[in-house]
């Protein structure tokens, strides 16, 4: 957390005039009849803000995550419970329009992550003839640790015909390379890729959905939603303060994840460093998303011992096979009575482990998803895999190449969507905005 907060200001200190009512306070006040109109007076707003802060005794899960900082929030931030991830296509050819949208989005993101309405007027209290500048479904809800994390896809730099779309083609980082085809990929183009992504994570699904919905609304005419994905239930922990959660196979997932506390490893494995390539990405990170359908029903018919063989960990405690505790290092050398390794050559944990990948690691913060059922009575469910890293060419690509060839789990998986994005460093302050260094 400290990594991303170094230049943080209080979220409300930099808010534009008349913007200081939090959603919750606005409702309370309207009920009392003091200020049914938001933004009616700066002085009144300021009072509210102070009393709001003084009275802030909500749990951590309901609180706000600072939006400004050295790095974007939503990466090492302890993984929240809910996800709404969206990929946009940019539909304008006008660079100035795109930059103006990024500025408008940044202001809305700063407001929403602080628990406020997306716009300065708000969901209620504006002119009755005008559509509100916030959609309203998050009224009365706390910030819920909402984070909004933006990334830029390869197609923002050059289109499919190789044309430089916005005069930034020479700023495309080498690390933002298109992912290769992996064995078994069954990708659907309409839910893959995208020019710009925004990851919304929060502890309340309504807050995450509200954020994406409002960004999409603000972006009408400049961007168009290409695909989006809801996730419930984090499948990784990004901090040692968090327990390791379970994925839909019922196994603990993300035990060996990069964690916020591993400062040295984060520098080495997560954040783009000076000299890595494009300066605008220094302090940023590269994001790979994969929507991985799990064939739940056949997995559920698999014997426990086989499930554990496939994963390489015990289902109960999540300990590496042959060990007793989740956080013990797996022993890949030891052989059982049958002469075979205790952790099979094709076990997921072996193939994915840093020791087997020249030390390459990922910061994973994926989410379980269930998109209803598939018409054959099967859950349309799986893992929306999210991984941040310093360079996918050295991290995700080699790891996934091994997994796609050898992982015994592949029998139960289908990769249906794939995307890669360059997530710039954090927005420093109220004068900064998403994409400023890239387009500056």
């Amino acid at each position: 957390m400290s990594e991303q907060n170094t230049t943080d200001e209080t979220p409300s200190a930099d808010a534009p005039r008349g913007t200081t009512l939090s959603r919750r306070r606005a409702i309370t006040l309207a009920g009392v009849g003091v200020a049914g109109v938001a933004g009616v007076a700066v002085g009144a707003g300021a009072l509210v803000r102070d009393s709001d802060r003084a009275g802030a005794n909500e749990g951590v899960a309901a609180g706000a995550v600072p939006f400004h900082g050295e790095h974007q929030a939503g990466i090492t931030t302890p993984a929240q419970d809910r996800l709404h991830f969206v990929a946009f296509d940019v539909i304008t050819k006008d660079r100035a329009k795109l930059v103006a949208l990024l500025q408008e989005w940044t202001a809305a993101a700063a407001r929403m992550t602080a628990g406020k309405d997306a716009g300065v007027i708000g969901a209620v209290g504006g002119m009755p003839e005008a559509p509100p500048d916030d959609t309203g479904e998050a009224l009365g809800l706390p910030p819920s640790q909402l984070t909004l994390t933006i990334g830029f896809g390869p197609t923002l730099f050059r289109d499919a015909q190789g044309r430089d779309r916005f005069g930034i083609a020479d700023r495309r980082p080498a690390a933002l390379a298109d992912l290769p085809h992996f064995a078994g990929d069954a990708l659907r183009p309409e839910i893959s890729g995208g020019d710009i992504c925004v990851q919304a994570c929060a502890n309340d699904p309504q807050v995450a959905v509200h954020a994406i919905r409002n960004l999409a609304r603000i972006g009408m005419g400049v961007v168009s939603v290409r695909w989006s994905q809801l996730g419930f239930g984090r499948t990784s922990s990004t901090s040692r303060a968090q327990d390791t959660p379970r994925n839909l196979f019922g196994f603990k997932d993300g035990t060996a994840n990069l964690k916020a506390e591993d400062a040295g490893l984060l520098r080495e494995q997560l954040w783009a460093q000076p000299g890595d390539g494009q300066d605008w990405m220094t302090g940023g990170s590269y994001l790979v998303t994969r929507k991985i359908r799990m064939l739940i029903e056949t997995w559920d018919r698999t014997p426990l011992a086989e499930q554990q063989q496939i994963v390489g960990r015990t289902k109960g405690r999540g300990a590496p096979l042959g060990k007793g505790d989740e956080f013990e290092e797996p022993d890949f050398a030891t052989k059982g009575d049958d002469g075979e390794p205790v952790i099979a050559e094709t076990a997921h944990v072996r193939l994915a482990h840093p020791a087997q990948n020249d030390g390459a690691r990922l910061l994973r913060r994926g989410y379980n998803f269930v998109d209803g059922s598939d018409g054959l009575g099967r859950l349309d469910a799986g893992l929306f895999f999210i991984a941040y890293q310093r360079d996918p060419r050295k991290q995700f690509v080699p790891i996934q190449t091994r997994l796609s060839r050898h992982d015994a789990m592949n029998e139960y998986l289908r990769h249906v969507s794939s995307a890669v994005f360059a997530c710039p460093p954090g927005v420093r302050d109220a004068a900064d905005h998403w994409g400023r260094a890239l387009f500056g």
């Binding site: 008349g18 309207a30 009920g31 009392v32 009849g33 049914g36 109109v37 938001a38 933004g39 009616v40 539909i91 007027i121 209290g125 504006g126 002119m127 009755p128 003839e129 005008a130 559509p131 009408m220 005419g221 400049v222 168009s224």
Partner: protein, 377 residues
């Protein structure tokens, strides 16, 4: 055919400007004449209106809620036609309703708890209707749009007559060719056509929106017979009824004067129509001639905005520029799908092409949604 949402808005009447001060944008004070400032004290059981006679023109009602329930205040014309309303007045709050009232008899109503008929009172407005419409550019808009409506209703009547004649003659091919043409004039003026309650569903109702006990009639019933079965031998009475209904609506539409706010909302609702019904191919599910309706809705929306243009140019030239750009963009995008004298079938467009159309409509609908507030201020 749309939902009743627009009908409600249209019936809401003239410039119900409430909460204007909320956005801090309005500094001009179009103060009502001294005699037209009305104080309303509402409680949970009483609705005390301090004036029961007014001069025609703009009236300003200051409604104070001294009760314990959330309240609403309405001004009704005969038949409970809403002339203006202010909702959600929390206990202890005051809110203003500004409404333009031509001469006539009205009723005021407070609705504690925001339900029921409310607590009614009589209101008489006398004087000259000429005092209405204080803004010259805006009053032009009403007249200008009325001329547009009159220009369309003539063609609607002619083409519907031809269509009906073809149906009754059993000429399937000719009826099929005339179906999208006649509908073009209908779809262009839907904002005004929809004001008249039952006529709209009778003329343009889709099968699923017809209520229990009400026969499925109108354009879409004949469309189904033309394309799904090809048997229109029993459609004579339905065609006759269609013509009767269209004649009735034409007469009413020609006489109707839409106020500027209705025009602004009408322009937006036409695009919502496109976004929700035409892009998806729901409107003309048998003939797949949705792009004809798409184009007509777009033209109708543009006509309503054109009527408002002088006022918009005075008040928000930036918005006018944006509207021009986005109208041109939708027209260019739609223009790719022309075929002969008309349009390609909905089924001939790829998903990518439909997405592109949808994006262009969204890009236009966004600035159009801001027009009403500009008109109202």
């Amino acid at each position: 055919m749309r939902t009743t949402r627009f009908v409600m808005l249209a019936a809401t009447g003239v410039l119900a400007v409430t909460g204007v001060t909320a956005c801090g944008a309005d500094t001009d004070t179009k103060t009502a004449k001294a005699g037209n400032a009305v104080k309303v004290k509402a409680t949970d059981t009483v609705c005390e209106v301090d004036v029961t006679e007014l001069n025609a023109g703009q009236a300003t009602f200051s409604v104070t809620n001294n009760g314990s329930k959330v309240n609403e205040f309405y001004v009704y014309a005969p038949g409970d036609r809403v002339m203006g309303e202010v909702e959600n007045i929390a206990p202890g709050l005051s809110r203003e309703l500004r409404v333009e009232l031509p001469p006539g008899t009205y009723e005021t109503a407070c609705k504690p708890g925001m339900s029921g008929r409310g607590i009614r009172g009589a209101l008489k407005v006398s004087g000259s209707a000429a005092t209405v419409a204080p803004d010259a550019a805006l009053s032009q808009a009403t007249a200008s749009y009325q001329r547009y409506v009159q220009s369309q209703t003539g063609a609607l009547l002619t083409k519907t007559e031809e269509f009906v004649a073809a149906v009754k003659a059993g000429d399937v091919a000719k009826a099929k060719a005339l179906f999208p043409v006649a509908r073009t004039y209908w779809e262009r003026i839907e904002p005004v056509a929809e004001i008249f309650g039952d006529l709209d569903p009778k003329i343009d109702g889709r099968e699923e929106v017809v209520e229990e006990g009400m026969p499925f009639t109108g354009f879409h019933r004949i469309e189904k017979d033309l394309w799904a079965t090809g048997d229109i031998s029993k459609d004579g009475p339905i065609a006759d009824q269609l013509l009767t209904d269209v004649k009735e609506i034409v007469a009413k539409a020609n006489a109707e004067k839409l106020n500027p706010l209705q025009l602004a909302n009408g322009a937006k609702e036409l695009l919502d129509e496109v976004a929700s019904g035409k892009i998806t191919g729901e409107e003309d599910r048998y003939s797949h001639t949705d792009l004809w309706d798409f184009s007509a809705n777009l033209e109708g929306s543009k006509a309503a905005i054109a009527a408002l243009r002088p006022a918009l140019e005075q008040r928000s030239p930036e918005l006018v520029k944006q509207l021009d750009t986005e109208f041109a963009n939708v027209e260019a995008t739609l223009g790719k799908h022309r075929a002969d004298d008309g349009w390609k079938l909905h089924t001939a467009l790829s998903k990518t092409e439909l997405k592109e159309l949808s994006d262009s409509i969204n890009a236009l609908a966004e600035p159009i949604s801001k027009v009403a507030a500009v008109v109202a201020r």
